[in-house]
Symmetry: C2
Subunit: 304 residues, 2 copies
């Protein structure tokens, strides 16, 4: 019996060659395609759109085995489309090779004139910081933690996607990936990686601004700070945490601070593989250069 | 003795890992980086900016051997940045593998308020059609044929790039690649390929509009129409012409017409490898899916 359709495929584009056994499913999804999928979110109270790549081996049979998925979280100013447009060609090729779906979330609520916003690239729309805001005026809609950790996995489960889940992201999205994985642990997220993540947001301008506005204080942000979380756990959580960081990244010293994460990881015994990439900057060209190695990394955990 | 600097590197981003022997040259170029390069164009009478990827093995020694280059021509509405942003991650990886530079041209003059333009996506700025306009008001600045075939190779020669040259492009840029290669022949362009090219512009709305405005008549466009040029040559010009075309391309039947090119190629004995890609559309996702196979194709001619 078919499960009820609860999503709307707003666009679908073939991105890898179709497999012989692949065809449209009842919900319009298709293996080998990149989709934009819309649904009404109970977390944010708005329409949300996420990107979804399904490998061509997806049978589109809802009774078949669920496929593993990598969740990608983008950085400040991005919506669901930046990653697939700018890093999709290499990412989809790598995901196809391993038979992994890629789920590309938005970074905040939007698509609704009533969402509180400010004229700022690092707060409000495009800057949800992957937390559930508790302070007015953001506390009604800015619930990206609940959205990523509870609602979106539930939507994907209905689509038979996410038998296992891993998580990665860039900058603010790298912060989201690290903190979500550290909070929920390896029973929920098989592996975690990040590109140029904000490692210690309670000690950098972006994080202080976000936590002050979303929670009312920086201190409340310690529960969403990778350095603080790892220090509090006091033990190794994952086999390895993979991080790539460009040495010419303009935000490295003031905002990102990977060395602080490496220090606390060493103290508590958590393995972190930090690749300092000489002369790479904070752009999607940096992500594009190494995204295949991150997908290879996650595949070891997702397909074993 | 250093050659005089005649270009301005307006931005430089590392996109592949630096080779040990790579470093900045006197002109600011660096192997393993994607650059935007500005110069004053005598063809268009404006500033022109082109994208330039140099493989990491580039020695940055102006006395060393020149490296081969693939020229990429983009389609309607694009400037020099669309291809590197949307297809760069796979294209640069493939070019790095083969030690080939990638030159990404603009599609028309711009960067000057005096350039004639119309409120239309398929004429004027972003739509130069790779011809030298002869009709007013376009005949002063719209000289993209001279720019691509004479001026840009000269600029690159000064940078020690383009020992051999191949050419490819998408849609209007595929038309540009095919017509430039057929007009100038294999002694100038080692190989030619295209994604979803406008094959017979004198017989489609985009081409008729462009030729009528740039030349004053459609008939004058036969000298810039791949089907007409191949028919006139009446013989095989290249070992092979590689074309990829999506079957779900919304412009396939009305604007692109690859089957007309294949027919005339068969008549005159020119080999054309036309890959009809099931369910792919006209987007950069389509280019991203197959750009590595095109660069592999050109490498056979550029590095032999």
């Amino acid at each position: 019996m078919e499960k009820p359709l609860k999503v709307d495929v707003v666009s679908k584009t073939r991105v890898v060659v179709r497999a012989e056994n692949s065809g449209p499913s009842a919900n319009g999804l298709e293996g080998g395609c990149y989709h934009r999928v819309a649904h009404t979110s109970s977390s944010t109270g708005t329409k949300m759109i996420f990107g979804l790549f399904i490998p061509s081996t997806y049978t589109c049979n809802l009774n078949a085995a669920s496929i593993p998925a990598l969740f990608w979280l983008s950085g400040l100013t991005c919506d669901d489309t930046n990653f697939p447009i700018k890093a999709g060609s290499k990412a989809f090729e790598a995901a196809e090779k391993h038979g992994i779906a890629v789920v590309m979330s938005d970074t905040s609520p939007r698509h609704d004139d009533e969402i509180p916003n400010v004229d700022s690239y690092d707060l409000g729309i495009g800057a949800g910081f992957y937390v559930d805001a508790s302070a007015s005026p953001y506390n009604q809609h800015y619930k990206m933690y609940a959205y990523i950790t509870k609602e979106l996995p539930g939507v994907l489960k209905q689509l038979n996607i996410g038998s296992k889940k891993s998580i990665s992201g860039h900058s603010m999205g790298g912060h989201g990936a690290l903190t979500i994985a550290l909070r929920e642990g390896p029973s929920v997220w098989s592996s975690v990686s990040a590109f140029a993540p904000i490692c210690n947001p309670t000690d950098c301008p972006w994080g202080i601004k976000a936590f002050t506005n979303y929670f009312g204080s920086t201190e409340a942000g310690t529960e969403h700070d990778a350095v603080c979380l790892l220090n509090k756990k006091g033990a190794s959580i994952f086999d390895d945490i993979l991080i790539d960081q460009g040495t010419s990244d303009q935000f490295l010293k003031e905002q990102l601070k990977p060395e602080t994460l490496v220090q606390v990881a060493k103290k508590v015994g958590q393995k972190v593989t930090l690749n300092m990439r000489e002369e790479f900057d904070h752009s999607y060209h940096f992500i594009g250069a190494f995204i295949d190695s991150h997908i290879d990394f996650h595949a070891k955990f997702l397909t074993s």
